[in-house]
């Protein structure tokens, strides 16, 4: 059974995280809302979320289901 990831959910969640993080940093007076913060943080979140969503595809450990599946194949 091929492991599948959730890159679209990851990208969407990452994008939202970037947007809300830009607002949080502004509210805590760490980084004022600016064109830079509104591009960099959501963009980075989108990319990071997409990559994290693909992570299951490249995971080294196999899932319990796939190891059971392989063992039944041998039988």
């Amino acid at each position: 059974m091929r492991r599948r990831g959730r890159p679209i959910l990851g990208a969407f969640s990452g994008l939202l995280l970037g947007i809300f993080l830009a607002v949080d940093l502004h509210l805590f007076q760490v980084w004022s809302l600016s064109k830079s913060s509104e591009i960099i943080l959501p963009g980075a979140g989108l990319v990071l979320g997409f990559l994290l969503g693909l992570r299951p595809l490249f995971g080294a450990k196999t899932s319990r289901y796939s190891s059971i599946h392989r063992s039944t194949d041998r039988l």
Binding site: R3, R4, G5, R6, P7, L9, G10, F12, S13, G14, L16, L17, I19, F20, L21, A22, V23, D24, H26, L27, F28, Q29, S32, L33, S34, K35, S37, E38, G45, G49, L52, G53, R55, P56, G59, S63
Partner: protein, 179 residues
């Protein structure tokens, strides 16, 4: 009266936009051919005063209070218009605008203005304020940073942002799980 009000509006804009300077930025954008200048004192409701001069780095603005200002130009700014805006990233919100012929050729004005009531409800943080005054005899542009204090959680925007951050983190966590 009309000219005084117009000059006062211009002066308020000049003061609000051009009196603060800091090591990282110039408040009055060059070239200042009109010679715009001014000073201000912001008095909060509890009597605390904030002086705004060319040495000010950032202005810690009280939520309520009065701005007492003196401002002027080296030569009259005829047929002038302008505005003061607050930058929220890509979004620019106009805080005020004016339009005046300045028929009395005013070059100096002093007065006082109340801070906008909406400031009480603004989320805390640093905001870039920009302004410009443009006329047939010249123009001035400027910018500075205002700091609004307060707890992020005391404002609905702050609460919504933190909740949104948590939900996004949950979504990100779910996205990393295999299916």
């Amino acid at each position: 009266m009309f000219v005084r009000r117009s000059a006062g509006a211009l002066a308020a804009a000049v003061v609000i936009t051009v009196v603060v300077a800091g090591p990282a930025m110039a408040v009055i954008d060059p070239p200042n051919t009109l010679g715009c200048h001014g000073t201000a004192v912001i008095t909060s409701k509890d009597g605390k005063k904030v002086a705004v001069t060319t040495d000010s780095q950032e202005i810690k603005l009280p939520r309520e209070g009065t701005v007492t200002f003196e401002a002027g130009t080296l030569k009259p700014l005829l047929n002038n218009h302008g505005d003061v805006s607050i930058q929220f990233g890509f979004l620019k919100v106009k805080a005020g605008a004016w339009n005046s012929p300045n028929l009395r050729l005013a070059i100096f004005v002093a007065g006082s203005k109340e801070l906008p009531k909406a400031l009480k409800y603004a989320p805390p943080g640093k905001y870039e304020v920009t302004g410009e005054a443009i006329g047939s005899t010249g123009s001035c542009t400027g910018h500075f940073t205002i700091v609004l204090s307060g707890s992020p959680l005391s404002n609905p925007v702050g609460v919504a942002a933190l909740v949104g951050t948590l939900i996004s983190l949950v979504g990100l966590g779910l996205a990393t799980r295999a299916r």
